[in-house]
Amino acid sequence: MKNKYKILLFMFALLIPPIIRNEYYVRIVNIFYMYSVVALSINLIVGFCGQLDMGRAAFMGLGAYCSAILTVKMGLPFIAAFLISGAFSGLIGAVLGFLCRKSAFDYLTLVTIGFNAICQIVFLNWIPVTGGVMGISRVPQPNIFGFHFDTNTRFYYLALFFLAASFIAMHRICNSRMGRAFEAIRDDSIAAEYSGINVQLYKILNFAIGSVFTGLTGALFVHYTQYASPFNYTLDESIYQLQMAILGGLGSLAGSLVGTFILVVLPEISRSFYEYRLLFVGILMVVMMLYFPNGLLGKEGVGERLIAVRLGMLGGKNSRKDSGG
């Protein structure tokens, strides 16, 4: 996209609350913005580095609880708690990445599922710290140097800024030497090693950076909903988030936003969709893997193929080869 369009898009985004003027819709957009960052972090880990992480919700939970505890129980200001939560989540991500640095593909997936389960059990049972089933309520709304983000519209600008900053940061990481190393590891970790890439270190880095973003989102979320609940960070939630990144296209950052938008907005439009959302996600996962493994906006994904059809140059290639194990 050219700069001109980017600026236009950003201007449009700034005008969304005054245009739609509906608290409920603004709220949905806010949630969409935050989940977008989670989907981006999943894309960084699964799409760019080929590490099938199925426990992202755990890191959201870590960020959320960390920030809630720091503000409610220790009285830290929002911005400090928010940043510390990101760092904390990133640190745990680095530790998990370090532990899994030599593991084969399957084990990382299992360890992330296990980690998600462990976090869930700890959130539920470590009552003195996490409040157990009751969770932590009355989490203060974001307040940066005296400015209160206490309405949906005010929060909207904070969420927009957060998404824009995260997107630019990830975009730059992915288009740098570091991002190329991630993709090299995904495509062929042996050839990557022979190119002088310290594969283990980069896997840890990838996991840590992704976890910083997931943790920050979790923290921001908890200050928005003002309540940390132990039931929000389940494996089902992780899978739903994973599907956001898959639907948009693994390896495409813009795709993550589209995938998130669809999966956040659809359940809000229809109650019955909400009931069937996990069935829908299941069917979507199978169908996409069989026919569109690169999602809507990925390389040779639905988008590119539609264009190819229109230009009459449909190729027969739809197989995405990722790193063999």
Binding site: L52, S103, L242, V281
Partner: protein, 290 residues
């Protein structure tokens, strides 16, 4: 008390073993993390429940469940896995996760999230042996696990299909060159895995006298996966020993450490195990080739 925990661990471990055998065959042959394994056989178990509720004799109902597990898994393989078999690791795994969610939500739509009593009529009696209680059912389960392991290993060694399965697990292209019908053989492996899963699932339900949707993933796929990793991926012996060890670990942790954190501790033990001995106790001997 220790003996009691040991007995309980052994019998729950034997149930896990039946579930793991089928899982590990697929795992070893295709290196596919079959996320759907548990949810597929859970659907089979619910079929049994439906048949029993409809007044059909439990034995026939179980046979019906086993057959439906066999057919379901073959269908899943045919439609959700076959065309992505060689598309790396991420793609087929996600497809399998999708199948798991489809199965699970199918169960939820038909039977809901409730827990049902599983009345099969062979609850068995309890034997009191010097302070410890052993259910006759526990003994049957143990015997069933061991006999299925023997039957499967004989099947692999003595039959033509079994030899084909072994050939495929070494190398699919080579097996194809040798004239092994690859697709049909893999279908059969999945079918057997599904059928054994239903048997394991039914024994699980009989053991606890209940059935609910969670027997698929949390109590099925994940346990089978853990057991496979402890025992060694792709090894039949490893599947059984890993499953029994998993049962023992669970029952010991619950008995001596904490019931509240039982699952968390079992996960921690497993993660530690992965870090220390990633190849399991009975590693299959295939070196990575450049």
């Amino acid at each position: 008390m220790f003996l009691q925990h040991l007995i309980n661990g052994l019998s729950i471990g034997s149930v896990y073993a039946l579930i793991t055998i089928g899982y590990n065959m697929v795992y070893g042959i295709l290196e596919l993390l079959n996320f759907a394994h548990g949810d597929v056989y859970a659907l089979g178990c619910f079929v049994v429940l439906g048949l029993v509720t409809a007044g059909i004799h439990p034995i026939i109902a179980i046979l019906g469940g086993v057959v439906s597990g066999y057919i379901l898994n073959i269908l899943v393989e045919r439609f959700a896995y076959r065309s992505v078999r060689f598309s790396g690791r991420v793609t087929p795994t996600i497809s399998a996760v999708g199948v798991a969610y489809i199965m699970r939500n199918a169960i939820l739509k038909i039977w809901g999230p409730e827990t049902y009593p599983m009345k099969l009529g062979f609850r068995g009696t309890q034997l009191h042996l010097g302070g410890i209680v052993v259910g006759t059912l526990q003994i049957y389960i143990f015997i069933a696990a061991i006999s299925f392991m023997v039957i499967i290993s004989l099947f692999l060694k003595k039959t033509k299909i079994g030899q084909g399965i072994i050939a495929i697990s070494q190398s699919i292209p080579t097996a194809a060159l040798l004239g092994v019908p690859v697709n049909r053989t893999i279908s059969i492996v999945y079918g057997i895995g599904g059928a054994l899963g239903v048997i394991g699932g039914i024994l699980f339900c009989a053991y606890y006298d209940t059935i609910f949707v969670g027997i698929g993933f949390a109590l099925g796929t994940l346990k089978a996966w853990m057991a496979a990793i402890i025992g060694g991926v792709g090894s039949l012996k490893g599947a059984v020993i890993g499953a029994i060890m998993l049962g023992l670990i669970e029952s010991m942790v619950a008995g001596y450490v904490s019931t509240l954190y039982k699952d968390a501790l079992v996960w921690l033990i497993l993660i530690t195990f992965i870090l220390i001995r990633p190849q399991g106790f009975f590693p299959s001997q295939i070196a990575e080739k450049i």
